[in-house]
Symmetry: C2
Subunit: 126 residues, 2 copies
DNA sequence: AATTTAACGCAACTAAGTTGCAACAATGAT
DNA sequence: ATCATTGTTGCAACTTAGTTGCGTTAAATT
């Protein structure tokens, strides 16, 4: 899979990610681009962009899907695994470039960790 | 809110949690109890049990809701906030009684952390 | 036993995400 | 520039987790 053709729709979606580094929920994206393309197209393009290592996805606090730009990924190596931060005041979601060490758990082998932190973001902080 | 009447349905739901300490997804519960009660009833009972501090909820890897017994909670104090572990082999989900320290993040105030670990559980571990 | 009202079943609904298919358009070859 | 190929799109229908309204049932209290 992956993006093969540079269509207008793909460019529009990529532009949404280029103008702001914070994450975007699919719900927001579908609504924001409803005049440009069908929601099915949004879902399909995001799928392919993720396959290509251009964006990565995760689930927000309601279990809805969010996407953000990858930094140094490719279709071969998807190394964008990190915690995410959702502001409980303004709703903004950001990638956190921090490492949260997971303690060893007896008789269990942790392979993936999904961490969603919630709190006040830079702008909403007192 | 909260559970006011000890109905047959409430007892059936509580029994599901008493016979096994691992978490149960709502999807599983609705299916397992379909002969005993309507799915609406399952959802409503779980809501109330959570209000009462008898169970707590969290989202599994697909964003679907899971519930597990609380240990020392009440309707006043819900202190059951901890990481959860989902086995990628057998699907079992467990509460982890460990503390994962979240490092300080500059200009941001973390208030809640949602941590879902995935890997091999005790039974599926090599 | 009668009264009160929380809890229940049922059907209809909501909303995120998916699928099948015909029409369209990006791309490379002629 | 035109054609042929085939990846991409729009649309409508679908799937499924979870919710809501309402009339009926049954737990608790008298
Ligand atoms: Mn990220
Ligand atoms: Mn738990
Ligand atoms: Zn904020
Ligand atoms: Zn397992």
């Amino acid at each position: 899979m992956g993006v093969l053709r540079k269509t207008k729709s793909v460019e529009v979606v990529l532009h949404e990610f280029s103008k702001d580094s914070s994450a975007i929920s699919v719900i927001t994206l579908v609504e924001r681009l409803q005049l440009d393309m069908n929601k099915t197209t949004v879902y399909r393009i995001l799928n392919k962009l993720e396959d290509d290592g251009i964006v990565h996805s995760f689930l927000g606090k309601n279990g809805h899907k969010w996407y953000a730009k990858c930094h140094n990924c490719s279709s071969a190596v998807h190394k964008d695994v990190h915690p995410h931060f959702q502001c409980i005041s303004c709703g903004k979601v950001e990638c956190l470039e921090i490492n949260v060490p997971i303690p060893d758990i007896p008789n269990r082998k942790v392979e993936v960790s999904q961490i969603l932190l919630q709190g006040k973001c830079e702008a909403c902080y007192d």
